[in-house]
């Protein structure tokens, strides 16, 4: 009816009125946040962590970040031009994808690889599904999985070699008097990889289980994990700088607590229960083993990055708050299972990808309670 009224109004306006008044359907006021605004805010929120990685890993990191971001934007623009679609490459969503992908590769990965990854993310994982709003999987994570499958060596070994003069390296070496070779094995991989291969290190280098565990769970190590001066993917290491960005997103109300907090709590509870039931060998020699272990899992790997910046991707997460919580619990459980029993040391990216696949199902069955009905409507 409103439409009819409006069209009739318009016709009449054209015929009679001298003054052109603009017609539109209510509401006539809109929130100031647009898609472009939200997307660029997310890009800004990633900059502290990205900037820190440039400080930590040097020019190499900056090159990767810039190349990946630019190639994502170019891929989007090129695809849209080719398909004669409206060009929306400047809306910031491609920039997020490119930036996130770079933050998800080892610091010494080749530049050409992230460029291919960005193009894959935009063209295969996003545009072929219909562009922004229609992709099922988080494009950056889909591209990361693609790179993992295509160039596993680059993706799992191109970690940063902290030289012995490094403050962290020195501090850690002093903790448990590890043999130099074992020390190299620990600092040249990611902390999670060390944890996974701890039995190997113990066997290969004759280090004691206590020494390895003491190194991994030392205050120095936990502090380094928080600040980010450890091995890992470009943007995942610094919990501090990631949390600064996340706070910005909270203040802007771009993300809500539902996904990140639930996700991290799930991992914490899962790990807490697991290590309470099956403490690692040497655990008895460490004060507060359980809280240290849980903290180690929260701060290491890509959990903070994944929980605050990738699981919260609007397109690939549920629309209802309860759906978000279910989704985040699923992410937390899968990530924990992969870390504990899987082939990879880290499971955050696969956990999000797997839960992305279930999001349409969650949205189908978890619906809000319609006002004036007795219960939540579920399914059809």
């Amino acid at each position: 009816m409103a439409e009819d009224i409006n069209t009739q109004h318009t016709e009449r306006t054209q015929k009679t009125s001298k003054m052109q008044l603009v017609l539109s359907v209510p509401p006539h006021v809109r929130d100031s946040q647009s898609v472009t605004y939200i997307m660029w805010c997310v890009v800004i929120s990633l900059l502290p962590a990205a900037g820190y990685s440039c400080y930590l890993y040097g020019l190499k990191a900056a090159k990767l970040l810039i190349a990946s971001t630019i190639s994502a934007i170019i891929a989007e623009a090129a695809y849209q031009m080719l398909m004669k679609k409206k060009i929306t490459a400047h809306d910031g969503s491609a920039a997020i994808t490119g930036l996130l992908l770079a933050m998800n590769v080892p610091p010494h990965a080749p530049v050409w690889m992230v460029c291919i990854g960005s193009a894959f993310a935009i063209i295969i994982a996003k545009q072929l599904f219909g562009g922004i709003g229609f992709n099922i999987f988080n494009p950056a994570l889909a591209a990361r999985a693609f790179l993992m499958a295509s160039w596993p060596v680059h993706m799992t070994t191109a970690w940063h070699q902290f030289n012995p003069g490094n403050i962290l390296a020195k501090d850690i070496a002093n903790i448990a008097n590890l043999p130099p070779t074992a020390f190299d094995a620990i600092t040249s991989a990611t902390p999670l990889a060390c944890l996974k291969s701890a039995p190997q290190i113990i066997a290969d280098y004759g280090a004691s289980a206590e020494a390895v565990l003491q190194t991994l769970l030392s205050n120095t190590m936990l502090k380094s994990l928080f600040i980010g001066s450890v091995g890992g993917c470009l943007g995942e290491t610094s919990a501090l700088f990631l949390l600064i960005g996340a706070t910005f997103l909270f203040i802007k109300r771009i993300i809500s607590w539902h996904i990140p907090i639930t996700y991290i709590l799930t991992v914490a509870i899962f790990m807490g229960i697991y290590y309470a039931l099956r403490p690692l060998p040497g655990a008895e020699s460490i004060d507060h083993f359980l809280p240290r272990m849980v903290l180690f899992h929260i701060l290491s790997g890509g959990l903070i990055l994944g929980a605050f910046f990738m699981a919260t991707d609007m397109v690939t997460s549920p629309v209802t708050h309860i759906g978000m919580i279910i989704y985040a619990i699923g992410c937390g459980v899968i990530a924990s299972i992969i870390r504990l029993w899987g082939g990879y040391p880290e499971g955050v990216s696969y956990s999000i990808l797997l839960m992305n696949a279930i999001v349409p199902l969650i949205d189908r069955y978890i619906k809000p309670k319609v006002f004036g009905t007795l219960k939540r409507t579920t399914g059809e």
Partner: protein, 447 residues
């Protein structure tokens, strides 16, 4: 008695910029009588009134010129003394061609209304009260314009225990109810008693959003003075759409109007404070509803404020009377910015349901292009009805009418919160309205 609580209220809702400062605290001023009035016979929900005057006939102020046609309809009275010069189709807010009685003002105000000596309403029976409300052509002044006598005479199968008086005024810009409560607190409390007697209820609750401290203070003072234990004043959290009937009932009584039902299904009748004021005038002074208070506001209005306007006054006349505009108007809205209707011509007259007229200049214009849904879920969180606005908008956009059936489209209260929050600027509430129409036409095709 009075009590003030901080009530969370209802699920969902939004916080649009209030922008009430333009006209907040501005005392009522009376706009001059227009030279010519275009009085629509349809100013309410229901059947249009039947014209009972002829061209050339002289009419008095407040004389009945359109008679209610059926139960759900309302009388229309002449807002000015003068002569009927025409009965024509003229654009109104209801339709681009609505039958209007055109009255040219002339002669003296030999008002047909009774003297200003109030009648003692306490002695009136309920039927007499309803009759005088019906006679005065009173409709809901909050905006929906549903005939008030219908609302005040619910069927015997629906026992009513509470009258809720809506002073929430959650729409941005509008301040008319706020000013009314500040200026006429005694009158409103008396009007509430009349409405309570009409309904036969022992309890009334006035809900006012906590962004109107002056109105709350004024009403509280009167309540304390008059010692009215059956009338409660509740300060509500400022949140849009706090003034929506069902959300207001939920916030005040924790009762949920069942899906597809009416407030009377949970024993409640809701009346806007403006309507309450008009009820009192009608019962005490036999004054028909031919004028009302409205807010005239917006960034380009030279003298924004709260004005008393006769029905039938064209917007173009109002602009001159209030001292003009600072800029060429580009968008003119009748009502509030959330639910109001954009006008295409300034020839449209003020009617009973007009709570305000807002004027916006050039920089207000936003691009009408909308993008694809990014499934951010903001509309789901904002929807006070618990719907999935994003899914509905996509289904309507893709013309998948069959799939719409299970999305509870008819529980939408058309508050526009979904469209407000949408970062893709999708006109979601409009899509829902379209979906409702398609579902209706689909079901008529089937039967």
């Amino acid at each position: 008695m009075f009590f003030s609580r901080f009530i969370a209220g209802f699920k969902g809702g939004i916080h649009p910029p209030e922008n009430k400062f333009y006209s907040e605290g501005k005392k009522f001023s009376y706009l001059p009588i227009p030279h010519v009035c275009y009085v629509p016979l349809q100013q309410h929900i229901g059947k249009p009134a039947r014209p009972i005057v002829e061209v050339g006939q002289a009419v008095e102020e407040g004389q009945l010129i359109g008679e209610a046609d059926g139960f759900i309809s309302a009388n229309v009275h002449s807002p000015v003394p003068g002569k009927v010069i025409d009965i024509v189709h003229h654009p109104t807010v209801f339709s681009p061609k609505s039958l209007c009685i055109v009255i040219e003002t002339e002669g003296a105000f030999t008002s047909s209304q009774q003297s200003r000596v109030p009648s003692s309403w306490e002695s009136f029976s309920r039927d007499e009260l309803i009759a005088s409300i019906k006679e005065a052509g009173i409709v809901g002044l909050g905006g929906a314009a549903f005939p008030t006598h219908v609302k005040l005479s619910p069927p015997a199968t629906k026992p009513i225990d509470t009258l809720i008086v809506n002073g929430a005024e959650c729409e941005p810009y509008l301040t008319v109810d706020d000013m009314l409560m500040q200026t006429f607190p005694h009158e409103i409390i008396e009007g509430i008693r009349i409405a309570m007697k009409t309904l036969g209820v022992e309890r009334a609750i006035i809900g006012v959003e906590d962004n109107k401290p002056d109105a709350i203070r004024a009403l509280r003072k009167v309540l304390l003075e008059t010692n009215a234990p059956t009338i409660t004043l509740v300060s509500l959290k400022t949140k849009y759409p706090q003034g929506a009937e069902k959300q207001l009932i939920k916030a005040l009584l924790r009762r949920e109007v069942p899906s597809g039902g009416l407030p009377m299904d949970v024993g409640v009748v809701v009346q806007n404070v403006g309507t309450i004021y008009a009820i009192r005038e009608a019962v005490l002074y036999k004054k028909p509803l031919y004028e009302r208070f409205i807010t005239i506001s917006g960034p380009i209005v030279k003298n924004p404020g709260n004005y008393k306007v006769r029905f039938g006054t064209k917007i173009s006349d109002i602009i001159d009377e209030i001292g003009g505009l600072l800029d060429e108007p580009v968008k003119v809205i009748m009502g509030g910015p959330m639910c109001g209707i954009a006008l295409d011509t300034l020839e449209i007259p003020v009617v009973k349901g007009t709570s305000g007229v807002l004027f916006f200049g050039k920089n207000k214009i936003e691009s009408e292009n909308f993008l694809t849904c990014i499934r951010c879920g903001r509309c789901v969180a904002a929807c006070p009805a618990g719907l999935l606005p994003c899914d509905i908008s996509i289904l309507v956009e893709k013309n998948l009418t069959d799939a719409l059936a299970m999305y509870h489209l008819f529980d939408c209260i058309m508050c526009g919160s979904c469209s407000f929050v949408c970062p893709s600027k999708r006109p979601i509430s409009h899509f829902i309205k379209l979906g409702q129409q398609r579902l209706k036409s689909a079901s008529t095709r089937m039967t």
